[in-house]
């Protein structure tokens, strides 16, 4: 709790210092989100409702998941109530732009073109990359795929990764449904795709005899987002502080475990890096 308070103070001071320099030219036209949230006494966060275990509905219909826990942390640090709004990949950035949500934590890959539309506070809170879904015990490491048929989706970037790097024989289908059917039929040793999507399949309970055995490659970072003009203001800096503390305290690793997500090496690395900053 002390640390969270420290983060708020640090974030606020940084923001104020920056704000003092630039208020004259009105660069932070919208630097009032933080105050608005506090005045309202409620934080509105956009989360996924269909991406288990990051954001999904439990049996009683309530939104739950790893990203919902993160949203709860933010609300707790601010001392306000939390309101969750389900968003989709196709409309999540519009929700922020239109001011319908204060914050978006919705499995979004951090891309340069997205940073032009929404404010993505650093550091990234998660990464996903290339991995495979395979029947338990069939393959252990990437090199086991050599010369064997691996199912994939036509046009997916992941295909080239396993074929050129590990000599797997890619059997690519028109869609993921066909590719996964071919895997279930045993037509290939594994299905190659994005690891977060594979984890979602594993969490769905339909792939109990399957596992994700490899170390993920080609990580792409995920970013949570605040409105673009709030990014360098109080709100963006506050969220940067939150993410920093999640990494440093090992909160993200703990949540990963809680939701049964396979350990991501990125989180371990960030945790080690930030822990090293602390005086011993």
């Amino acid at each position: 709790m002390k640390l969270k308070k420290a983060a708020i103070i640090a974030g606020v001071t940084a923001a104020l210092a920056l704000g003092a320099v630039t208020t004259a030219d009105q660069a932070y036209a919208g630097n009032d989100r933080f105050k608005k949230v506090l005045d309202r006494g409620e934080l509105v966060v956009g989360v996924k409702a269909d991406y288990k275990p990051w954001g999904f509905r439990d049996s009683s219909g309530n939104l739950t998941g790893m990203e919902i826990d993160l949203a709860n942390d933010v609300a707790k640090a601010l001392g306000v109530k939390l309101k969750l709004v389900p968003v989709q990949s196709s409309n999540r950035m519009q929700f922020l732009q239109q001011g319908k949500i204060d914050l978006m934590i919705a499995t979004m890959s951090d891309k340069a073109n997205r940073r032009k539309v929404v404010g993505v506070p650093d550091p990234n809170y998660y990464t996903s990359g290339t991995n495979v879904l395979a029947k338990k015990g069939v393959v252990k490491q990437w090199s086991d795929l050599k010369g064997k048929p691996v199912c994939g989706k036509q046009g997916a970037f992941y295909n080239k990764v396993v074929s050129s790097r590990y000599g797997a024989k890619i059997v690519a289908f028109v869609g993921n449904a066909e590719a996964k059917q071919a895997l279930r039929d045993g037509k290939c040793v594994a299905w190659v795709y994005d690891d977060s999507s594979i984890m979602a399949d594993l969490a769905s309970g339909q792939y109990n005899d399957y596992e994700m055995p490899m170390a993920t490659e080609d990580d792409t970072p995920w970013g949570l987002a605040v409105p673009l003009d709030e990014k360098d203001g109080i709100w963006g800096n506050f969220m940067s502080g939150m993410i920093y503390n999640w990494h440093r305290s090992g909160r993200l690793i703990e949540l990963e475990k809680k939701w049964g997500i396979q350990a991501t090496s990125y989180l371990q690395q960030m945790n080690k890096k930030f822990e090293a900053y602390q005086p011993k």
Binding site: A134, K135, V138, V139, K148, P149, Q154, G155, A156, F157, N159, K160, S164, I170, V171, A172, F173, V174, E178, Q181, A182, D185, G186, K187, C188, V189
Partner: protein, 246 residues
């Protein structure tokens, strides 16, 4: 070859037209492999469909009611469903019912995706070929068949030595048409991951983001293949011409 590659490399550097297959060794070998797979697939499908057509046309005129109804059912089934649906059905449904063996973590089927493509496309085009051959057979005058049987030919013998040679000449133009269609339909095999030209072009343009260039290559490739097939069929037609007939 090097000069050729240099030209396309330069074309890319100066105009942005990325014909990567002509200067990149890896993409080139992928492309060449696709050419062979496509040609093998086409030849296998053509031969299989013609055999199905010949046998089918004969069975249509069989004495046994069961054989005749069976043939009618087969033709209805294959003419009334889209070929892409047939390919997926054969591969994903029948493919699981046919024997396979464990090849270290996956099931290696005795009939792979290539085999299922040949079977489904062969039966698909075969259904049309059956009807085409039937039209030829019906064009053979009844009196000719009667003359053959008067000479002591059995039904099978008269089919092989008299009716079919005449019928074949009559229906060659229609058969020609259907085989050209079949050649183009083989692109559907990309749906079950047969590494033919369509599938490979898709992979190459996904990896190199050169969709328009690969589309042009695809187009020219199939125009060329169809031209070769049509030319060969015309030569055949000419060489079988009987003076005074047809």
């Amino acid at each position: 070859m090097e000069l050729f590659g240099d030209f396309f490399k330069q074309l890319y550097d100066t105009t942005g037209w990325n014909f990567v297959i002509f200067y990149d060794q890896v993409e080139w070998s992928r492309f060449v492999e696709a050419i062979w797979t496509t040609i093998k697939l086409i030849i296998a499908c053509l031969i299989f469909s013609v055999i199905v057509g010949v046998v089918g046309a004969w069975a249509q005129g069989a004495k046994s009611k069961i054989v005749r109804y069976g043939m009618a059912g087969y033709i209805q089934f294959f003419r009334n469903t889209p070929p892409f649906v047939q390919i997926l059905f054969f591969y994903f449904v029948l493919g699981n019912l046919t024997p396979s063996y464990d090849a270290g973590g996956y099931q290696e089927a005795y009939i792979g995706s290539f085999g299922w493509a040949v079977i489904s496309l062969g039966f698909f085009a075969g259904a049309f070929n059956t009807e085409i051959f039937r039209s030829g057979i019906e064009a053979v005058p009844e009196s000719t068949v009667e003359a053959a049987s008067a000479l002591g030919y059995t039904r099978l013998q008269s089919y092989i030595y008299v009716v079919f040679p005449l019928a074949f000449r009559v229906c060659l133009p229609a058969l020609n048409n259907n085989l050209v269609n079949l050649l183009k339909t083989t692109t559907l095999a990309y749906g079950i991951a047969v590494p033919e030209m369509m599938y490979t072009a898709n992979q190459i343009w996904s990896d190199n983001v050169n969709v328009p260039e690969m589309m042009i290559v695809l187009f020219i490739f199939y125009v060329g293949l169809v031209a070769i097939l049509v030319w060969a069929m015309h030569r055949w037609e000419k060489s079988m011409k009987i003076p005074g007939y047809g």
